[in-house]
Subunit: 454 residues, 2 copies
């Protein structure tokens, strides 16, 4: 009989995170100060992030130990299953062998808590009282609310006002775990009050919410700021995905030719891909293809430029050397809200520049079509973000059908779409727009990048 799942036991979980900086040809350039544009030192980040995380950010150690308490928290849902998508292969009539790592088994339903529990552990070690953060549709806020509760920390979530009103379910989940959720702009910060003074009905934005969360952290004793993607330590924590997957692929007796993940800030894709990319960087698997998949709504990797830009729209976050469509660019309102970030994780961008990885972008109808095909064969209804990876797998599987090759494809099924079924409904009703990219808007946004002193 067919084997569908490759399951590890808790004792088989990785004991160390993998730090790709140790194996890259060159690390990504350092962050710069958002105001002075000068290079940032570790000390500059101390008011914002726990010190242990800042140390991880600049570490070049290849393997960094996962504390026992973090492993204990990860065990609440890890190790996650690795599936062979046999039924989907059959439906597509492809000779490709498709595998996926299923991260939707975590209580908040995605890969996000992999880093949330680690960040909370270090915050607790440092004696902090709580974390503040921002959230759009609520995926990251859910993960942090869940994790703060596990470690006895408080959680203050600034949720983009329009999502707060229109998407109550993730707010309710956050509140159930004990998080305090306020619509942003709020009257609790200077940043929020300034926006409300100008427009009491402001729908908010992720940029405003980040500003509020960071201000709240630096103005409240015992609070720091927690971040859900882009930054190096977040990607580091996500490597448990790929480290588990390597063992599971070994159980399956296969090794991937192509590893694929969707990328907004890049953390779930890097989490799966980096441990495999180690084999490419260190010489054993030079043919491995690492594919990062983004939305055409915010095509930082496929249309943006590689330059320093602010990490946030409010210019409060550090400058990051990355592929960016510009911090002032406003992406079309696609359902995959998690892919609407203007930039990308700096290590991913450096790997793209170094020719070690590739990128592609899709419109949302192509993406949802592939996700429906996947759901009908494999059962799982994935998040609209994840569906971008599913589409890339579909294309690779179809290329195999064309060429007759039996390539091994592995992708990260990063989360379920239970709170995003509206995207599927729009697709079924043929009412899902494929937004044209506003080329003039990107060109304008790219003129607003910082001018770095020589």
């Amino acid at each position: 009989m067919t084997q569908y799942k490759y399951l590890l036991q808790e004792k088989d979980m990785p004991t160390h995170w993998y730090n790709i900086l140790a194996d890259m040809k060159a690390p990504p350039p350092p962050y710069r100060h958002p105001g002075t544009l000068e290079l940032l030192g570790p000390d500059d980040l101390k008011p914002v992030f726990p010190e242990a995380l800042i140390a991880q950010e600049v570490s070049t150690e290849r393997f960094i130990e996962i504390p026992d308490e973090v492993q204990d928290a990860l065990k609440m849902w890890r190790p996650s299953p690795l599936y062979r998508a046999s039924r989907w292969e059959k439906a597509l009539d492809t000779p490709a062998k498709i595998y996926y790592k299923w991260e939707g088994v975590s209580p908040p339903g995605s890969h996000k808590p992999n880093t949330a529990v680690a960040q909370c552990y270090y915050a607790k070690q440092e004696g902090l009282e709580g974390f503040s953060t921002e959230t759009g549709a609520g995926q990251w806020g859910s993960a942090l609310s869940f994790a703060t509760r596990l470690f006895g920390l408080k959680c203050k979530v600034f949720m983009v006002a329009v999502s707060f009103q229109q998407k109550p379910y993730r707010r309710i989940a956050m509140e159930t775990w004990g998080g305090e959720v306020v619509p942003s702009p709020s009257s609790e910060t200077n940043a929020g009050r300034a926006i409300l003074a100008a427009d009491p009905e402001s729908p908010g934005s992720l940029g405003i919410a980040i500003s509020e969360a960071v201000e709240y952290a630096v103005t409240h004793d015992g609070y720091k700021y927690s971040i859900g993607s882009v930054i190096g330590f977040v990607l580091l924590h996500q490597t448990v995905i790929g480290l588990e997957a390597m063992k599971q692929m070994e159980m399956a007796g296969d090794y991937p030719d192509i590893v694929i993940g969707c990328a907004g800030g890049g953390s779930n894709a890097a989490g799966l891909i980096y441990p495999f990319l180690k084999d490419k960087l260190t010489g054993d698997r030079q043919d491995l293809r690492a594919v990062f998949v983004e939305s055409t709504a915010s095509p930082s990797m496929t249309r943006g430029i590689y330059a320093y830009d602010w990490g946030d729209t409010a210019k409060m976050a550090p400058l990051i050397k990355m592929h960016t469509v510009g911090h002032t660019f406003i992406p079309a309102p696609v359902h995959a809200g998690g892919l609407r970030y203007h930039g990308m994780a700096p290590s991913i961008c450096a790997l793209l520049e170094q020719g070690e990885a590739e990128a592609r972008a899709y419109h949302q109808n192509a993406v949802l079509g592939a996700a429906v095909s996947f759901a009908q064969a494999e059962g799982l209804i994935v998040a609209p973000e994840t569906a971008h990876a599913v589409r890339a797998v579909y294309d690779e599987a179809m290329a195999c059908k064309e060429s007759g090759e039996s390539k091994v494809i592995l992708f990260n099924n990063s989360g379920h779409g239970h709170f995003d079924l509206g995207a599927y409904d729009a697709y079924h009703r043929q009412d899902l727009p494929d937004y044209e990219l506003d080329e003039a808007a990107i060109q304008k946004a790219l003129t607003e990048l910082p001018k770095i002193p020589a």
Copy 2:
């Protein structure tokens, strides 16, 4: 370090279902015809159910083989994990040892597909074209839509109109798997047209939807009717839960003193409990307590009487000897829609009568309070139905705290609450009513039971 989960591999899955009829002191009395009130023979059910399922309904074989293709379908999410709720034990400060079987890992999010895939297999074997069924909030319809797609069958779902309008997410999920969902009452059946003629704005009811689904099956060539609970073969198919759990409890080195499940029609509870109850019925574990937990909104086991009653409100389904509050009784609109059935699975009722099991009922605030406590410790946000089991576990754990006993408690965590977060929101806002039982209404309903000829 703590072990949280006990995980089986696919090769450890049960190869046979357990049929409790083989071990009961006496089987439940046979069904009767809804019109003549006479005893029903297997042939009477053939227009409605696949023949292999009717054979299972009356079988007294102790173990019934699970066909390979059904095992293959179950492997898409099974074996499901068994958890030790260590964090909740600690939060409750109880000496009790709490375990739970987690059925929310299936693509539709509950235990329901365990029987849906089996029913679809036998339908396909019989050469049927499709299944019709009814659904309230959509949990069962989701499971059947998912399963029919796997076996290449069509699926026609009559969804209670008010849920169709107010709860679009489960409808979208059903449609994503390829199910055809129509609001009930519909214009597609005589039953539906009659209701619409009298009230074009009818909100529908589960009783009307059942009538439409059965009529659709018997009037459409190649269609039969699929049912999600109450009936013997459904409970049989659910015993994979308990059979897996027995192996996992052995891995954990424990055996339960108390096994608990929530019960609307009774299938998830029986699925976990029956394999353990075998040990009690056959002598080894006479102290085992089997606890079925219902809602005070429809207290068939704790307030109803044990008598023949129609299986549905429309008097089209067979008469079943069961604990019932009367087929005309209308339960209060509690969030746990799956527990609003007026009767209970006949084997569960016979076991209650025979003193082999016990029942209790809870109001929804008590239930949601326990579910929030569970979510904050264990992460998982359970369905409002499942929360009834969680409350019973809470009470048993607190009794252990009082007595200092370290009992082993196992319960079925039968599904997630991702589509039912409104119940949690109402609880947080202290806006969740604890409906008083309408004693006069039950007494009146109990006068409307069939008068069985002596």
